[in-house]
């Protein structure tokens, strides 16, 4: 497979995963806001932090309110990390590589693109937002279903999987980090709402029902963190994603450096580093290592890249 084609498939998968994760985070947060009593609001800055868009947001918006933040994360085409931009980039990457996937692949991505193009300010109102975001999530699930059931386990699949897993690791770790910081800022009087906050973290990474089945209905900060970071069978946990990455990398030659990074990352997630006082430092380091894993993948298989991915840098270092 051509390096260029592999690279584009990798980025397409990253953008799609990012779209789905962002939609989930927005939905979970929008629900949370309804449940929080007056005076206990977290503010909308939290969401901007989750997608790591602080500077880019403050350059263009005066007020950090629901309307602006939702616009910024979902529709803002000037925000490289927005859902609208990610979907556009995913489609652009697939346009020239569509032969690598079953014909439906292009159709689904194109339809997702048309769907997002047709969204406007009205789609962001509280009444409609949930439906639109759920639709975006469903469309992504449809694409993932197609990949899982109809794509040969060849090079194309390998690079799609790499992109998807790395983006998932990036988003999940960021959600945990931002949530911890935000919750820590709340004073002890707000103790009654803390389980609500942690429940929404679980929802944001699609882990709520799995957690309830396995741990039970009582939501506890340490257990949530452990579940999302360490669980060996939940497909969005950091541990599970890393183990999948290791497996996917084993299909490729020249994988030594990347595999080493993945193993180190996996070894670094232990209960000790997940303690509240160490968590932020751990995630900072985790994200830096993810960035070097991306660099290693680029160097090993994409070679000299003159692809100009708009969000290539901003996804890691905004």
């Amino acid at each position: 497979m051509l390096s260029r084609v592999a690279e584009r498939l990798y980025w397409m998968a990253r953008y799609l995963e990012r779209t789905e994760c962002s939609a989930r985070v927005c939905n979970a947060y929008s629900h949370l806001v309804l449940d929080l009593p007056k005076g206990e609001e977290l503010g909308w800055q939290v969401l901007v932090n989750v997608i790591d868009g602080g500077n880019s947001f403050s350059q263009r918006y005066q007020r950090v309110d629901e309307r602006n933040v939702m616009k910024f994360i979902i529709l803002d085409k000037d925000n490289f990390g927005s859902i609208a931009s990610s979907v556009t980039s995913a489609r652009e990457n697939l346009r020239t590589t569509r032969d690598a996937l079953p014909a439906d692949g292009w159709e689904h991505v194109n339809e997702l693109y048309l769907f997002v193009q047709n969204m406007n300010d009205k789609s962001l109102s509280r009444r409609r937002r949930h439906e639109y975001l759920s639709d975006i999530i469903q469309r992504n699930q449809q694409i993932n279903g197609l990949l899982a059931s109809s794509v040969a386990r060849d090079r194309a699949f390998t690079f799609l999987k790499l992109g998807q897993l790395i983006e998932r690791l990036d988003m999940t770790s960021r959600v945990i980090d931002v949530a911890c910081l935000a919750i820590a800022e709340k004073d002890s009087r707000a103790a009654s709402v803390v389980p609500l906050l942690w429940a929404s973290v679980l929802k944001a990474v699609s882990a709520h029902s799995a957690y309830r089945r396995e741990v039970g209905p009582l939501i506890d900060a340490d257990q949530v963190i452990e579940f999302v970071c360490l669980h060996s069978k939940f497909p969005r946990s950091l541990n599970y994603c890393l183990s999948s990455l290791e497996q996917v990398l084993s299909f490729l030659d020249n994988n030594k450096k990347s595999t080493t990074i993945v193993r180190q990352l996996r070894a670094s997630i232990v209960n000790d580093t997940l303690a509240p006082d160490k968590l932020h430092g751990f995630i900072d380091n985790f994200q830096a290592e993810l960035a070097s894993l991306h660099d290693s993948i680029t160097a090993s298989w994409f070679g000299v890249s003159d692809l100009n991915q708009p969000a290539q840098k901003s996804l890691f270092t905004q």
């Binding site: 390096s3 346009r95 032969d99 090079r155 994409f302």
Partner: protein
């Protein structure tokens, strides 16, 4: 006959399906009867079904306009154009003959140049042409084959004879639409298709694959083929991707390849560099290699010419092939056939007046109102004047142009192109058409069964280009 066939006028030009007296031509009976039995609603349903197939299969061509690319659905007319097998065999032989002679000529120009020494073609006419590439001198591609893929435009005139309009030897396109048109017909008119014995066209990708493999410098069971495209913004990108896909070849852009110090071409893959044996290029000579041709080209591969001249990679069509794709040279093709093959030309050339010759020029200036005047080095219908359809002022303008630069102009009689029944709104009307068969040439020569028929959708119009609203028809070669 149903109402939509009333007033069908087949008396003014040669019609492909209907005689001047309004009867169906021999062997067109089944098709004409079939369409005559359909109501307007049924025809529209068939047309809608065709449009749906086109949308679903994503058959499109790209039109660049106002800074954005629009993928337009491929325009298709449901009534096929028919040619009898016996007639096609003769045309096909003529096309093969032409292709052989043109390849001999290109090889001669870049090697011994006996054609000039023997006074068949004036040397300066070729050597001063923009299509001559001195960088190709001395090259000896395998089998002496240069123009491996040729798209020749044919028209049928009032006398019912086929004439060659031009030979496209650079990067002719359209073959994927020929294949898709057949697919559409099979889907929407299976009952009609079944009742006619139509020669298949879908062996083209296989034949192209064989032709390209035969050129490989390395003797391998499966050489590495690459289709070199300028990228997604090219109007024929759909076709590039289609052909790569159907041949199981890689669709590459210039940036995907490099040439090493041993003149070997590689493409960059996730498993490391992989040697490329044959490049089916869909970009012009100018952009092939910035080291040799246009320096500012980002579409090509630096060093590609070096690799080709060293015989380490085959390029189809070979660089420099365009030297035989020239409106002035066109006039000499019958002579080239006699000179190289010692055969009489089987296909008609349109009578062509070269304004560089005094006698021809005088004739053209006297009869300019009856002639089509074309600049020698333009393509795509640019700077062309159709005498009978132009004003006196325009005639004067072209007379002046010809006097100023006679070398740059040719003239031909205005041909009345043949027509075929075409669904236009609620009526079946005659529309002008042409035909582009594709000829493959390496150690052997092969011609498609039929080709791509293009139709001018406006009444009386002769413009068949899809970018200007032209349509297309499936072309059936039948017993």
């Amino acid at each position: 006959m149903k109402a939509q066939w009333q007033e069908y006028d087949s008396s003014r030009f040669f019609d492909e399906l209907i005689t001047t007296s309004g009867r169906s031509r021999p062997s067109a009976g089944t098709v004409v009867n079939y369409f005559s039995s359909l109501s307007l609603d049924e025809m529209r349903q068939a047309k809608d079904a065709a449009d749906l197939v086109i949308r679903d299969m994503g058959i499109s061509f790209t039109v660049y306009s106002e800074g954005t690319n629009i993928d337009r659905a491929w325009p298709f007319d449901i009534i096929p154009r028919l040619i009898r097998k016996a007639e096609w065999s003769r045309v096909s032989m003529g096309l093969q003959q032409r292709s052989r002679a043109l390849n001999c000529f290109i090889h001669d120009v870049y090697n011994t140049q006996t054609v000039f020494a023997d006074g068949i073609v004036p040397a300066e006419l070729v050597l001063d042409s923009g299509n001559f590439r001195p960088q190709c001198m001395g090259a000896k591609p395998r089998f002496g084959a240069w123009a491996h893929i040729c798209g020749t435009d044919l028209v049928r005139a009032e006398d019912g004879q086929f004439y060659v309009l031009e030979d496209n030897l650079r990067v002719p396109s359209g073959v994927s639409y020929m294949l898709e048109n057949r697919d559409i017909t099979k889907r929407i008119l299976p009952d009609l298709f079944e009742n006619c014995s139509v020669f298949p066209v879908d062996d083209y990708p296989e034949q192209l694959y064989r032709t390209l493999c035969s050129l490989s410098p390395r003797r391998l069971k499966r050489p590495t083929l690459a289709v070199l495209t300028p990228g997604i913004y090219n109007s024929a990108y759909f076709e590039h991707s289609f052909l790569a896909h159907t041949m199981g070849a890689q669709l590459v852009e210039g940036q995907d390849m490099f040439v090493d110090d041993n003149d070997v071409v590689f493409m960059r893959t996730v498993d490391g560099p992989q040697q490329v044996d044959v490049i089916y290029r869909r970009i012009d000579d100018d952009f092939l290699d910035p080291d040799v041709f246009r320096e500012d080209s980002a579409l090509g591969v630096p060093g590609l010419m070096r690799a080709w001249l060293a015989g380490k990679v085959a390029i189809a069509n070979a660089p420099g092939s365009g030297v035989a794709d020239d409106k002035v040279l066109y006039a000499f093709v019958p002579e080239l056939i006699r000179y190289y093959l010692k055969e009489e030309p089987l296909l008609n050339n349109v009578k062509t007046y070269l304004c560089m010759y005094d006698e021809d020029r005088d004739y053209v200036l006297e009869n300019i109102a009856e002639l089509v005047v074309k600049p020698a080095n333009e393509s795509g219908g640019y700077g062309l004047m159709v005498g009978p359809k132009s004003s006196k002022k325009k005639h004067r303008e072209f007379e002046a142009l010809i006097r100023d630069n006679p070398r740059n102009y040719i003239a031909q009689p205005t041909l009345g192109l043949s027509t075929a029944p075409t669904l236009c709104g609620s009526k079946i009307s005659p529309r002008h058409l042409d035909l582009r068969p594709f000829i493959l040439h390496s150690n052997d020569t092969w011609v498609t069964a039929g080709g791509l028929t293009r139709v001018a959708m406006e009444a009386g119009s002769l413009v068949v280009n899809s970018s200007q609203g032209g349509g297309s028809k499936d072309t059936w070669i039948i017993e």
